[in-house]
Symmetry: C2
Subunit: 190 residues, 2 copies
Amino acid sequence: MENMYLALVHHPIRNKRGDLVTTSVTNLDIHDIARSCRTFNIKNYFLVTPLKAQHDLVKRILGHWEEDAANAYNPDRQDALSIARLVNSVDEAIVKIEEAEGVKPLIAVTGANFESFTGRMNDLVSKMNVDKKPCLLLFGTGWGLHASILERADFSLDPIVGTSEDGYNHLSVRSAVAIYLDRFAEASRS
Amino acid sequence: MENMYLALVHHPIRNKRGDLVTTSVTNLDIHDIARSCRTFNIKNYFLVTPLKAQHDLVKRILGHWEEDAANAYNPDRQDALSIARLVNSVDEAIVKIEEAEGVKPLIAVTGANFESFTGRMNDLVSKMNVDKKPCLLLFGTGWGLHASILERADFSLDPIVGTSEDGYNHLSVRSAVAIYLDRFAEASRS
């Protein structure tokens, strides 16, 4: 079974004008993506932000997963958070994976506007098996991952292609994660 | 091209104990699912609730899509709402589709816990083409669509199967919609 890790990156990110920015963590991204990650056997879900004020917020949300009152009625949502990890940077996530796996992970990136890409999810899974390496799959927020992250990637995935007649193609990051992880499950089975 | 419609059903729904309930509309379901629907060429996205108090909320959200101040910075999110429609019941959605298409749609249902199902998305798309009919794809909230809706379906889709070692399989409805629509796009292309 392939060991896949996922990170939702809030820095370094591009804004609409292409500038380097740090985006805000949202409660919903934490919960929804954690549930997708748990369902599709992702080893850890890293929330990447260097902002200390955001760390307090994220820790409060993650800290509640064992004790929240909502837990009694809806334990599945809380349980999903058990695989979430808060880190300051993509590099810190890489270090944590290397500590757990004994080998550096492949870095795979996603983006809606890639003009070229390395391959599809089944190609990435093949590479993980050939290289005998885990993988860290990176998702951007805002207007996508900054170039300084993209240029460090070992593998860029094909963008999700919409089918609207006017070319509209603006999935939420939560939806994009769900689609890529479904494709990961499909590729892992075959 | 297959004419697919989608409805997010807030009534009739099952709660955890299997009782018939009406769930609340959430702002996020409106926005996220509208973006997925627009990206994957869904003709209309119906928000189904009989609650008048919820109608005011939904109308306020949908009414803003042309005028909201956020529109200037982020027009894509607002544009997606143009395909959303508020209805009191699944039957009202069916009537609206029949008015637009001149034929009653096939009713297809989704659910995480189906013990049996009619087929996969590519089978449904084949049926739409053979029958020369549009389709209304129903998604439940809460603990899923109530039996009174399920028993009226022409087609039930295979559940999304997770890959977690302990059987955890609790996607958000937003994530499930994204995955099924990606599969619909794939089936439409082939």
